[in-house]
Every structure is written in structure tokens, then in C-alpha cells.
Amino acid sequence: MVAAPRQERDDGSALIYIDRQLLHEVTSPQAFEGLRLAGRKPWRIDANLATPDHNVPTTLKERAEGNAGIKDPVSLIQVQTLDDNCVEFGIEEFKINDPRQGIVHVVGPEQGATLPGMTVVCGDSHTATHGAFAALAHGIGTSEVEHVLATQCLLAQKMKNMQVRVEGELGTGVTAKDVVLAIIGRIGTAGGTGYAIEFAGSAIQGLSMEGRMTVCNMAIEAGARVGLIAVDDTTIDYLRDRHYAPRGEQWEAAVADWRGLVSDTDAEFDKVVVLDAAEIEPQVSWGTSPEMVTGVSGEVPDPCRGMATIPAATATPVRSSTWGWRLIRRSPISASTRCSSVPAPTRASRICARRPRWRAARRWPTPSSWPWWCRAPAW
């Protein structure tokens, strides 16, 4: 999986061979320009896959117009530049109105372009998402994007290993996002700094691939550049018949190879963290940092009273315009809650955290012991 074309350098770094690079419009323009200025060609065109995703409009109407639907001139230039660079260098791109276009970390798995055992890089810190497929995946900067384009290698230092095991069965309506938030709540946003985290345990194995991607995606919020999960039947079933996944005899050989991508039972880790799945509650994200979470039965700081805390489950009334209160009140109550009505720093984690629970709640009855705002909305 990992190449070391020559021995470690004096600073402990070595070259690793990169199997897949995903490109998007924000961190690639100067990398391509660097190639052009130096008269260099990409080392291996088929290792790259591009899609614009940071600057694309979200409404169907705008999307139907293609690049013309992008109103912001700086965004438009970035997307147009990616299109032009992909044509010039012969790199496959899922353009803005291609049905395969999507979030860059999702496109790879969906198309079977992310495979177990791969080294995967992208100019985006959430690249660890691909770790759900037992791929060594992490984000890189623009100069490294250029370096990978030109050499198919990256200069890297070995990371420490951490295993986070979540054992047992998750409670009703507790989703992958709750699991990873609970992990971050436990180890902190710098807890994984310098580590590659392996997420393991029966609760992790019980997650769908989408759930596993959700967990690995947030490795960086725990400070770790890499988060990964061992291969099992769920991984292999997901990949079967995906567009870029191997077929025929190669599929059989690949599956046999992938089955080996699990940690030894006696593997030693630099750090091990164990969580009891049964103790993980639906998480309440109450602040501006991913570590500012607690279970629904926990307590959150009272934004109106300094250091005082209030039970998370009862923090429902709106008493002031303080964002903390609005966040708590509006958490999961309605699918029509708009991002624009929530202060910016809280949007992403809140919306992401809640949405899977709505789906879960549609399938299962919500315990009546939960507060009203954690129950399913009326669909």
C-alpha cells in the first residue's frame, strides 16, 4: 500500500506513493499553474479525478444553468479554471451539471474510485472520509497537490496510532454523527493530533458505509489527519458493481487482498480509547467547537448566566436572542428550519448532527422520555 522509494530522510520523512488524488476548484489552480510554468506533466492521469464542489450553487434552478448559474465572480473563475485545467491535462472531471458531481469526498466512494488499501489525498482536510474504506486518506495543501500531480508521491512522516473502540449496541436513534461527536467530546479537538485513528468495535462494525464515512470524516475535528475502519462484508458489499470497482477475476483477487486490511488482534497502539455504545446518547452540539457536545441528558452552559449549566434536555424555551438559546430551541424541531436563521458558526455541526436523527426517527418511535425537541417532526 505504501511506497518508500528510498530510505527515510534525516527528518524522518519518506516518500509514499499516492493511488488516488481527488481535485476540486479551490486548492488546485496554482498547482496546475505550477506544472505549466515548470513544463511538467501529471505523472499518472488516471490516478486523478476532479469535481467542483466548494463553489457550486445548491438550488436546482441555478444548477441547471451550469457554470452560468454561479453568480459570484470569484467562484465562477475557480470552477471555470478547474474545467480548463482538466481539459488541458486530460483529467477526468465530473462537471457542475454531471449527475455524478457531488461533495468531493462522496464522489470517490459512490463511483468506486475509492478502494480499500489505497492511499488517497485531496486538498481538503476532510479527506479522511475515505478512511471508511480502509484507505489511508488525508488532506494536503496546494503545493502538495502539485507535488502529487507531478511525482505521484508525497513526502510524509509516520503518524502515531490510536484505536478508538466503540463496543456494544447503539441505542435507538443514535447515529454515526452522535458516535463521532461523543468520541470528540471524550478526547477533545486536539486529542488525535499526530495520530492516525482506527475506529473499531462492534458498534462501528454495525454502521453502514455512509455512517462509517461520517465517523471518519470528522477525524480531523478530533485533530487527526487520518481516520480509518477495517474492511468487512459491509465494505465489500458497498463496493460491488460500483463504476470504477474491479470486476471479474480482478474483483475476486481484490476482495481476497482487502480481507487482510484489518488490525491484528494483538496489534499495539500508542493510545487506546474505549467507549460503551450503550452509554452514547443523541448528542447536543451547544457551541462553536465540535467538542462542545453533550448527551441529551447532560448539561450545557447557560449562555445567560456565565458558568452555570442547565440540563440539555430541558433547555428548550427561548429566553433571549442569544445564539446559544436559539440553537438549543431550534435544534431538531423542523425540517424547514433554515440555515440562514442560525448563526454561522453553529450551522454545519448542528444541521449535520440532526439530520440523520430525523430519518432514524421516521423509522422508529421516539422514546417518550426524550424532550419534545428531540422527537421526530411531524412528516
Binding site: P5, E33, A47, T81, L115, C153, P246
Partner: protein, 217 residues
Amino acid sequence: MKKFERSEGLVAPLDRANVDTDLIIPKQFLKSIKRTGFGVNLFDELRYLDEGYPGQDCSNRPINPDFVLNQSRYQGASVLLARRNFGCGSSREHAPWALEDFGFRVVIAPSFADIFYNNAFKNGLLLVTLPEETVERLFQEVAANEGYALDVDLENQRITTPSGEVIEFEVDAFRKHCLLEGLDDIGITLQDEGAIRAFEAKHRAARPWLFRDSAQA
């Protein structure tokens, strides 16, 4: 990266200490999707009397006639003579990009900021650190002699003044090697091209499904 070649270069003096990266290339120009074209905005706040913005045509902007690079005797300069702590501020690589794009190949100063020092060498710019008194003398000589040029010989780590005086300087052996050979980070990695190709061939044979052009249809 271009190889650094020995040449005689016209010297422009920038008599100011602690020139930071924002002075070298102001922040508004960082939105560019390019790494070239920053030369017209090098020292933008000092060179022009109005405020610059990205993508602007600079040919009609009001020039600051007092700024050294706007004076006719320094047109075509490729050696910048500066004061201590040149390049302090941020880690932006746009600063060496702008200096190079303008035409500078060498900056001489009593000291340089750390990150800038690294970024400059990575982008083909030679930074020469000389004692404060030597730099002071060079400033005086530049001011007194129009057309003052220095012969910068990196190979032998020597600078020769128009009067024939030879000034020796120190430079890290690896950085010197990279500049003389035109090796940037990619160039250094490509020195291992054979090893990378050998690994790739083995990797392809063992796991052909990782290579889309070797994958079974």
C-alpha cells in the same frame, strides 16, 4: 524552477528595515488563482499613490516618484539591497513569487525572516546574508554610482563589486545545490524517479485494480 546562473545584476536599494510580506505583496492580491503576474503589484503600497486591487490595469495608476523602483536609474534591477529582517510577517509564498516575477534574482540583507528565507530558496530566489557594515557600505556605493551592478557568483559564493572588491558569503550546501541545478521540491523527488517507477510497476502487477488503465472492463 530556473537554474541560478552567474550574472552581473543592476542593484536597487530599499533602505528600510523589517520589510514584511504584506509590504512586498499586499493581502488583496492573494485571491488570485495564479502564481505569476504579481510583479506589477510588488511593493504596491510604496509604488503607487492609489490603492491597488486584483486584476487592475496598473499602467495608468499614479506612480509614487519617490519610490526607488520607480526611478529610471534602477529600471531593470535584478539585485535588491535591503535592510535587516527582510520578509518578516506571514508565510505567504506570494512574496517570493512577486519578487521573482518583477525580475529580482538576488536579495542582499543583513538578515531575513525564517519562513521567507525558506520560501525564497524554494522558488529560485537567492538570499545573501552579509554583515550590517558591509550592507551599509554597499548602500553608499549604490547611491554614489549610477548603473552600480554586482557580479553574483553562487558557485564560488562570491560577490564582486564594480571596483573589483570581492565579498564572500555563506549559503547552505543543499540549498546552493538546488538553486544551481534548478531543483524545487518536485525536482528533488524526481531524482528518485527510477525508484518510484520501479515501485509503481510492482504495485501495478500486485494490485492492478488500483490502476484504472489496468482494470478489467
